[in-house]
Amino acid sequence: MTNERQEAVLLPHQKEKDHLLHLYRMMLLIRRFEERAAEEYTKGKIAGFLHLAIGEEPANVGTMAALRPDDDVFSHYRSHGHALARGMDPRAVMAELFGKETGVSRGRGGSMHLASLEHHFWGGYAIVGGHIPLAAGMALAHEYRGSDRVVLCIFGDGAVNTGAFHEALNLAGVWRLPIVFAVSNNFYGMGTAIERSSAVTEVYKRAAAYNMPGKRINGNDVLEVEATVRELVERARAGEGPSLVEMVTYRFRGHSMADPELYRSKEEVEQWKARDPIVVFRRRLEEEGTADAAELDAIVQEVEATVEDAVRFADESPEPDPDALFDYVYVNP
């Protein structure tokens, strides 16, 4: 996985092809996983909040593809895609949504709190902006130890108006911490459009206030996301400090399953859906001769089976043991 894409440039055609198909497979997996999660939600198998990232898959997959396995990820409450793209087991992710003991967070967290120590995936956090200081702190730990790990902190455009965003980016700027702040700008903080909530609607410009580079990219182009994030991550790894990347994208579904979407027009949503980034990427793979329809259809089938297996696993898994109610409140009670 390390520098997979970088090597791909140098190595034979097959390596490049494998990587492109991996990106396609991951985006499809996220799409299908979330569509099935929505179905299970309406059946009552999943409760609480379920925030879908459908439409934002390239930003999910491109960011994760740019990292080393020992780099660190902090995400927010819309993180199914990040978790899957990071390589977490779809079974365990779905089981977490179902509130089962076999879930990635043993059923204690649910959809908003996915995590995996093994994958250096330090959690989905659900207070908007609240995890950004944590991510800065882990970058501080790397600097403290002289480690070359880099932290990637992901949040939405709604988070950039919180105090936590400002305090954390300023701290990272002052201390030149090895961290990349990646904002998925989908133009809405819940139901409030960015031009109604942000004095500066181009988020990358805010980087200037923290003496770090800011970039705005097409978040719906998985290759552009991967290349840009890799460049910024390697820059941080080389000791050149933090950066902010704004990935312009769009969420096809509501903020959560409970959202009637009164704040945006059907036409606007349809315009974005017409440019569905997974469809666009597939067309590109076919047109460039990377893969033919049969190969890509096989991936669709494979993903379908993976997701069905994950749902079955989650459904059949046990709930947490009632005797374990007080586990994990303290390490040493």
């Binding site: 709190h113 609240g130 702190g137 882990m138 300023n170 040493n332």
Partner: protein, 333 residues
């Protein structure tokens, strides 16, 4: 044995733990070049350097969040929040992140930070002399320590830094100059163990932090009247060790609970409730409380004196709780 101040005891604990463990570092506002607003960290920058004694921006959210993020990766940060009033700026980090990180991801991560802060104060008016320990004592996932003596401050801070769980360590502005004996050799005071500071058969006074000192003064006063008060110092508010309190109540049958916090929904309410739940039959009188009056702290000297609890009020409460047998007790004495 050396007699040192509470301030020096805290400083010794920090210094000894930094010498013992390379992972321990300090961060906070003006703790380095300025020397700490209460001069607790004076000299530590010179001894340990800027890597381990880190002056931060005035960004409490970033201070706590960064400490927590560094702790998740295995460091042992001690974050100083200049006064407990300023923890309110970072309350989201403390309650939604620090207290939850171990639990909501199913026990995968730990957050062993110490938040050192300072309660109390004089002539500082409404927002700089509050006693807000109850806010933290309410939260599962946090440990809350509030020592009264130099011996306890040093031993409990060392225990807090070594603890695997997050600890809110609340010092008291008016105790920094107080003196007490501290052993020359290494020692640790365990978290979650209440301590009987004075033996007595007639009435139990439960207190913590500066009120323990006031309770001991009150006990001296009562002794002159032939009444022997037992003083139980809680030392840790969460987890609350009720053992010594209940043992004492079983012997005295009369209790006064003292706190510098406001009475409503306070520490005293919790202690009184536990006593009636667990030792109802031992009580010969209702449990009484002595607390700060329910007003924001006034600046004017005369009003401030009226607002804060005093040793005289503790004496009066003890006499009131002893009312029924006060004559008999004095006669017997």
């Amino acid at each position: 044995m050396a007699e040192i101040t509470y301030r020096e005891a805290v400083r010794q604990a920090l210094r000894e733990e930094m010498l013992r463990d390379e992972r321990v570092f300090l961060l906070g506002e003006d703790i380095g070049r300025y020397g700490g607003s209460y001069a607790v960290t004076k000299g530590l920058l010179e001894e340990f350097g800027e890597k381990r004694v880190r002056d931060t921006p005035i960004s409490e959210t970033a201070i706590i969040g960064a400490a927590a993020g560094a702790a998740m990766d295995g460091l042992r940060p001690v974050a100083e929040i200049m006064t407990i009033n300023f923890t309110l700026v970072a309350i989201d980090q403390i309650i939604n992140n620090v207290a939850k990180i171990h639990y909501m991801f199913g026990g995968q991560f730990r957050c062993p930070i110490v938040i050192r802060t300072v309660g109390g104060g004089r002539r500082l008016a409404a927002t700089h002399s509050q006693n807000l320990e109850v806010l933290f004592a309410h939260i599962p996932g946090l440990k809350v320590v509030a020592p009264a003596t130099p011996y306890d401050a040093k031993g409990l801070l060392k225990a807090s830094i070594r603890d695997e769980d997050p600890v809110v360590f609340i010092e008291h502005a008016l105790l920094y100059g107080t003196r007490g004996e501290v052993p020359d050799e290494e020692y640790v005071v365990p978290i979650g163990v209440s301590d009987i500071k004075r033996r007595g058969r007639d009435v139990t006074i439960v207190a913590y932090s500066r009120m323990t000192r006031e309770a001991l003064i009150a006990a001296e006063e009562l002794a002159k009247q032939g009444i022997e008060a037992e003083v139980v110092d809680l030392r840790t508010l969460r987890p609350l060790d009720m053992g010594p309190v209940l043992d004492s109540v079983a012997r005295t049958n009369r209790v006064v609970v003292v706190g510098e916090d406001w009475r409503s929904f306070g520490i005293g309410a919790e202690v009184a409730s536990r006593i009636q739940e667990e030792a109802f039959d031992d009580l010969d009188a209702p449990v009484l409380r002595v607390n700060q009056q329910e007003v924001p702290t006034p600046y004017a000297a005369n009003l401030e004196r009226l607002a804060f609890p005093s040793s005289q009020q503790i004496v009066e409460a003890c006499l009131e709780v002893l009312n029924i047998r006060v004559g008999a007790s004095v006669a017997a004495g």
